[in-house]
Symmetry: C2
Amino acid sequence: MRGSAEGGQVGSPQLMRRLNTQRVLDHVWNGEPVTASELIRETGLTRATVLALCRELADQGWLGVLENSRRAGAYTKGRPALRYAFRRDACHVIGVDAGQHRISASVADLGGREIGQGERAFEPGRFDPDRQSGQERRKEVLTAIDAALDDAGLTSGDVGAVVLGVPAPVDAEGRSPVGLNRFWGQSNPDLVTLGAERGWECVVENDANLAALAELDNGAAEADSSFAALLSGERFGAGLVLRGELLRQPRGGAGELGMLELVDGVESPEALGHWARHHAREALASGGTGALAEYGQDEVQAEHVFGAARDGDPLALDIVDRLADRLARICVVLAGLLDLDRIVLSGAVAPALSGLVEAARAKFAEYLYAPWLDITVSELGADAVRTGAVRCAVEQVHARALQGDHVSSLLARGVLRA
Amino acid sequence: MRGSAEGGQVGSPQLMRRLNTQRVLDHVWNGEPVTASELIRETGLTRATVLALCRELADQGWLGVLENSRRAGAYTKGRPALRYAFRRDACHVIGVDAGQHRISASVADLGGREIGQGERAFEPGRFDPDRQSGQERRKEVLTAIDAALDDAGLTSGDVGAVVLGVPAPVDAEGRSPVGLNRFWGQSNPDLVTLGAERGWECVVENDANLAALAELDNGAAEADSSFAALLSGERFGAGLVLRGELLRQPRGGAGELGMLELVDGVESPEALGHWARHHAREALASGGTGALAEYGQDEVQAEHVFGAARDGDPLALDIVDRLADRLARICVVLAGLLDLDRIVLSGAVAPALSGLVEAARAKFAEYLYAPWLDITVSELGADAVRTGAVRCAVEQVHARALQGDHVSSLLARGVLRA
DNA sequence: GGGCCTAAATATAGACGTTGAATTAAGAGA
DNA sequence: TCTCTTAATTCAACGTCTATATTTAGGCCC
């Protein structure tokens, strides 16, 4: 009965082994192929140990062994080293941006490379949450996922984890509050239970949080730095990354911006699109002229404003200036309180906003002394949330990689710390 | 040369041993005496192992062995168990609240029990930072510390760690920005270097952060919960505890409230005392009457306002109401953005503010739906910062307890994670 | 093609800490 | 004094890592 029962072994050499396995896995995870010598250098372990660990990970399917050693360029003397490569295709993940007007799903490998897409879009323009029941929405999400799987040529069984991003706060159990805001419950009709139907590990997460994860992965910010991903959809939402770690609160309310109602010159958590439209209509109603007048007071949209501003239309420029002030004030609140290094403006409209951000930077400096703060536009455009969902799903797989191993249960029991 | 060089041993059984030692130490740290059986239950280790670890910790001086086993009450059959008790007197720490008007130092044991005090106070009323040079201030701090040591009957050599709380942001190196705010540089004239003169481990920390640590230790909040300690001195400062951990940013700006200038109905980071005075003088200047009029427009102080409000004076009550609104708005910003469980109002005046907080609670509910939020007054009164400094110093000792051991260097090298 | 060189992989012995079971110890009650 | 119960101690077995010695794999040179 020695070394078998899974309750025991708390402090035994076996545990050491698992810790080292995890360490090596972490090192190679989604990295370039490595030789044992490199791992020896990085982990401080002995050659014999490292090789044993690599063999173990290879047996488990996480590592592939590349016999063709002696990488190009590296000068070569002595016996060529084996090279171990992380197997990005060990399993696949699904990331979904389940927005209000559009659900887009993608299948990706463990390196985050998309290999399949699926999409469901609803009528553009105004969205009436009451027109879509929870059941319908769940079906739409599944349809998008299935389309993505189909596109990738994979099946349910290849899926290691699913992450769904929704425009609502999400608590630790994956649920969103109902009743407070009719959009919230509608956005997340118990989507966590959706994975169970297919036997998937399923996580629901707030969209701004996922956008933040995407930026984190994108290397926009240095490790250990702090930033906010400000997602400008219908309403603003922020994903807060503090010291390299996404802040997730049990109730899911971190980064909610309802409090902007109390901020001078901001007045509401409505996002840039809303205000661009609002200011344009207001201006046209009171006799404003210029490029925007072409669209008519009731038809003018946010994109028209940003387009006209790029072309130098004075009215549009004035509106952009007012939006920049709003944005700057939001940045002051976030960066001032949390001492951020960076604020990334994200969302579908983001790519069109470089001028706005530039103006916001200047205004920010008037309100707060924080010359280190970088206000930038996300490079990810409309894909930010989905990209973040994929990254989050990969993390899920990573975290569970050695599950069934003993460490995991020890971590769960708090025997080991983090 | 086996098992000796300190570079090696990365993944060996020796490391396992150190991890387990740390685990047992964490369990007993500042807790009640325990028997080996209890540790066996809590750690999952074997009796033989636990006893070996306890013996080791006892040899190192962290644990004392209480032969008088068979604790009162516990019914007793069989051989009485040895009991091991954490030695709170293994060494002592110094916590200092280096405020603008008052420097108070205390010597405490590792249980946080104060056993010596020292204090330096400057003229009450207006404080002119230019009147005190950095050198003078350093001397004052040392004087307070020496007085506390003297009071405790201890000497320099008994000191395991020193923590100094200052009313200024403090960066990772213990320094405060100079130039931006004349009070900041003045409050922290390179106090980190002060420990070196006496051979002490010395840490400088922001006062609100220390107040937050004090609340954390005080058990006011459950482990893993999130709260802000709102320190109301000359200006507001907040210590942010997120998921049970104090947020410390490299530049030290977390919890700085300069951004309150942009919050509607708050307008500045000046704290309650300032505004109480301000409103009272304003009211008296425009002919206000009542209890406050006795003091005269130029003499009336914040305490007068709070006192009069307790006695039901209408003018004072009106002022308190306005302060409560301000406080409520600040709470909305903090709790709304970070999804806090609790906000603790701290500082010397806090004990007098229970009425104000009650009013603030009601107003808060008008601004934000967050019925779970607890707005309370600290029980620690004027001692919060010093208490937090002591706690922080104890943590320093705890973190370094097994230093010289191999784990520490491994943690430093990133071989182990947190 | 055979020797030489280098660096990687493998094999083997040694050390250490943990487990788990057997043994001894310390009190309380009959 | 004997028995009962629970703790502490002892010891062999085991697993993992380290450290050293040995083998292997490929260039390079003659």
